[in-house]
């Protein structure tokens, strides 16, 4: 969910009244938003950095409001105020229409075929006769930034350029050229650069360096020229300095270049509808819905929708309502989205609670049922349950246990942020040993267990993703003496709980085995009905040491799925 920060006093001024924090929180809740935080610039800086850095910052109160991810029309003060005012019946829902310029032809943006190789779509509009104040200007820039970070996916899908129309002249051309052939004076620079030079200039720019990768490797870079050959922008990196907007700008030329046409339109619609009463977009959609048998009267529903900026009227045909979807509401793609708005306007807390009528019988997942029962009795046998992570480092399941990672059958993560999340665990043992290492001050003996899933690669048919979970039971005994007999006793007890008799063949037995985890001669394999289900033994001193432990330790790990 994006968070929008607005100055409280500006917000109240625009809403025409002030609210207490509680009242405003309630209003947000009713409108489907959440007042996340009440803060100030000063507080934010001192929290993120330190008090000394915050010294000069503003202490004007800021409201941080959580907005649903697809409501781009609420990402700025203007849109928020409009939505809330209509919701409170203080304002009629605006209708947006395109107007032609008073004199002359509409502006044109010509798209050449070269752009197909890098960024194939572009849409544009003109906002005419705008009066910027410092606050409106800031909000305009802020909204672009919010859109860039959200729907534009950090400019990769859509990039916005805004220009002072009076410094330039159309028609405009959107084309693509090799970087060496693009040469202009970019925003806030004093001389001209080629596109190649710009890419190396911005490599160290803390803000722009994040966008370079979008076009860097392409043979041609996108660029927009005016009729005099002046560069308006080189999307998605930087605008030209010549056409930059300022507080004095009257007419704003907005271009959106994109790899996705739908999103480019959404972004352009959002910008123009938020900042103009004279929009250039004709894009009104009409949708017909029928109020469902469970809802309020058709008339009430139409009124509720109108309060949500969705102008609605009865068609007179049955329960049908005609709803006009403004260009601000790109999130509405199905009738169910309209119904959702009606529900918000009605107030979720005003909905009468009912209960689904169907009779259903509950069933437990057999593996979880077995796990629950076994956990209780293993604890009753004197062992303490721990809860460890399903992800770990390669070392934890490989080197530290004396195994090659390729032999473990571990599933590998391609993008871990730290070494703790390189693979999914293939055994529960490392988690238990790490728990002991973090609890060395506890009185001995430590008797721990866990029943949980490990993940193993599996190419068998029916294992669609190429890996499967396997439920394991693992227990360790850590003391001044290895206590193999204790772990052995726990294994016997577990078999008793599972109703398996100590009998070679049709029952369970253990027999000597070799494993790098265990001390030679102190490891046995557990067989049930002749099939191996796990191992137990005294840990190899190398394993003990690699997990930063100092005492002898015995352990048991077995599969519990065969006992279902």
């Amino acid at each position: 969910m994006p968070t929008v920060g607005v100055k409280r006093d500006l917000l109240f001024k625009a809403l025409g009244r002030s609210y207490t924090d509680e009242e405003f929180d309630e209003l947000c809740f009713q409108f489907g938003l959440e007042l996340d935080e009440i803060t100030s610039e000063k507080e934010l800086i001192s929290k993120e950095q330190n008090d000394s850095k915050a010294a000069g910052a503003s202490d004007v109160i800021l409201y941080k409001i959580d907005v649903p991810a697809n409501r781009y029309d609420l990402l700025c003060l203007e849109g928020l105020v409009r939505g809330l005012q209509v919701f409170k019946n203080k304002l009629e829902a605006p209708r947006y229409v395109r107007v032609s310029p008073v004199s002359g032809q509409p502006q044109k943006l010509i798209i050449t075929k070269e752009t197909a190789a890098v960024r194939p779509y572009a849409v544009a509009a003109v906002l005419r006769d705008i009066t910027f104040t410092q606050e409106r200007y800031d909000s305009f820039i802020e909204l672009q930034e919010k859109l860039h970070q959200n729907i534009c996916r950090k400019r990769s899908i859509v990039a916005i350029g805004t220009h002072d129309l009076d410094t330039t002249s159309g028609p405009f051309t959107y084309t693509a050229k090799p970087p060496s052939e693009i040469c202009f004076q970019p925003l806030n620079q004093t001389k001209e650069f080629t596109a190649t030079e710009l890419m190396s200039l911005y490599r160290t720019d803390s803000h722009l360096k994040h966008y370079l990768h979008i076009i860097e490797d392409k043979p041609v870079y996108p660029v927009i020229y005016d009729s005099n050959g002046i560069v308006l922008s080189m999307p998605p990196i930087i605008n030209g300095d010549h056409t930059k907007i300022s507080l004095k700008t009257k007419n704003v030329f907005i271009e959106c270049t994109a790899t996705d046409l739908t999103k480019a339109k959404v972004v352009l619609d959002t910008l123009v509808t938020m900042f103009s009463q004279y929009s250039s977009q004709p894009n009104l959609k009409h949708v017909f819905i029928s109020s469902s048998p469970h809802s309020e009267s058709t008339e009430t529903v139409a009124q509720l929708l109108t309060r949500m900026c969705l102008l609605s009227k009865l068609t007179g045909v049955g329960d049908q309502i005609e709803v006009e979807i403004p260009p601000t509401r790109s999130d509405i793609i199905h009738a169910c989205d309209i119904v959702e708005d009606a529900a918000i306007a009605y107030g979720f807390n005003n909905i009468t609670r009912t209960t689904p009528r169907s009779y259903t019988v509950a069933t437990q997942f057999p593996l979880n049922k077995l796990t629950e029962l076994l956990r209780q009795d293993v604890a009753a046998a004197g062992f303490t349950e721990v809860l460890t992570f399903a992800l770990c480092s390669k070392e934890d399941v490989g080197d530290k246990l004396g195994k090659k990672i390729s032999e473990t059958g571990a599933a590998h993560i391609s993008n871990p942020k730290t070494a703790e999340f390189q693979v999914a665990r293939t055994t529960l043992l490392p988690g238990l040993l790490k728990t002991i290492a973090a609890n060395k001050k506890m009185p001995l003996p430590l008797k721990l267990f866990e029943i949980s899933d490990v993940v193993l690669k599996d190419k068998s048919k029916g294992v669609y993703v190429g890996a499967r979970n396997s439920r394991r039971f693992c227990a360790v005994y850590y003391n001044k003496s290895p206590g193999f007999e204790v772990i052995h006793g726990l294994m016997d007890r577990t078999m008793q709980l599972l109703g398996v008799k100590p009998l070679r063949g049709e029952g369970y037995h253990i027999q000597a085995a070799e494993d790098s985890i265990f001390f030679p001669g102190r490891c046995a394999e557990i067989f049930v009905d002749g099939k191996s289900v796990g191992r137990l033994g005294v840990l190899h001193p190398n394993v003990v040491t690699r997990f930063e432990l100092t005492m002898p330790c015995s352990a048991l790990e077995m599969d519990i799925e065969p006992f279902l």
């Binding site: 909905i351 689904p356 190429g466």
Partner: protein
Amino acid sequence: MADTGVVEALLLGLEKAEDGVDSLELSSSLGVEHQVVVGAVKSLQSVGEVISAEQRSSKHWQLTEEGVEISELGSHEARVFECIPVEGLLQSELMKLPFGKIGFTKAMSNKWIRVDKTSEGGPLIFRSVQTIVDQVREKLLNVLNGKDAELEEKEKSELKKRRLLSEVTVKSYWITKGSSFSTTITKQETELTPEMIVSGNWKDNKFKPYNFEAMGVPLDCGHLHPLMKVRTQFRQIFLEMGFTEMPTNNFIESSFWNFDSLFQPQQHPARDQHDTFFLSDPALTLDFPQDYLQRVKKVHTEGGFGSQGYKYEWKVEEAQKNILRTHTTAVSARMLYKLAQQKFTPVKYFSIDRVFRNETLDATHLAEFHQIEGVVADYDLTLGDLMGVLHQFFTKLGLEKWVEVGNSGVFRPEMLLPMGLPEDVSVIAWGLSLERPTMIKYGINNIRELVGHKVNLQMVYDGPICRLDT
């Protein structure tokens, strides 16, 4: 056990006394060490209210070792005086005596003796008075006999300066009769024994009282993990409400089931490398129900089922990417798809299992956590049904501010209809993390104190049973 003779003497003395007895006085009158009397007091205290004893401390003068010697043999100066014959004593001879040096100086200043330096063979010492009174010895004897009150402070401090006296603090008891005072004490038994039960002796024995202020012995027992105890309760709640458990034992999932089937667009931020763990091995899933996959592709790309769709180029390559599931809703999607392949019957499903997010870790976020999920699929479900089910669920949970712990909603038709579910079937669902309500319930602020190998086992040992609705 204390000296029984002293115990008896103490009790007899206390019986005769009007108000009480001082342990120090008692020790001197009985001629025993004070410690012996203290032992008797402690022993009597442990058998109940026979006596009560109040500790006191008093200052008291005592002779040093040298002081004791003087009280027996006389002061050094007196002994110097005594050993000088009428014909006098050579000073060099006197100085050979152990008390000679100090005694000579003191006797000189007392003017008991004089020195003739003119005599041949060295200085000669003579008595200069006929008789002397050894006041130092007398004062020390007074102190020794407990009559130190007769000495003036100045005299005491002078003797202290000469290291003949020292001041000591003595702790003593002021002993008075207790509520069950008696001069005869029967021996108290510590514990009931099998022999007593057999012989019936327990009827006549008196038992030493227990100290109920002390803690019992810590038990050697096993414990369940607090988060798992809460999980058990959540399972219980769902089962009580008639919800069937879903098989969620598949941490690795394809992007298709985790995102695409839920009508999550492929450019959605949640599908970013920064939010989701992708797998390099096994990297891809290739096996999907093909007709269903085509319907999902269509609804994303161009819409249908009453939807305009997202209008973007949907790529199967993106759907094939394996990930660690980011929510258990991936399993719900598989279950609903399976349900749609049969003749529809209403269902209620739940699951509680691990999910994974490639998040930046902090006090409330880990890379993996447990998601609780409830799903109801039935004909014509309404928002009222969702509100009603949620209300029942959270009432059982005993959480007042439940809006803050989870999400809920109605699944979109773009998700359900491509699966093949009937048009008049709605599916409502809600989800929350297991960790968050547990942290609220147990007042834990840092998730790392609850989950993972770094938790303090003492927290596990000390955890109460989990009763969510109280």
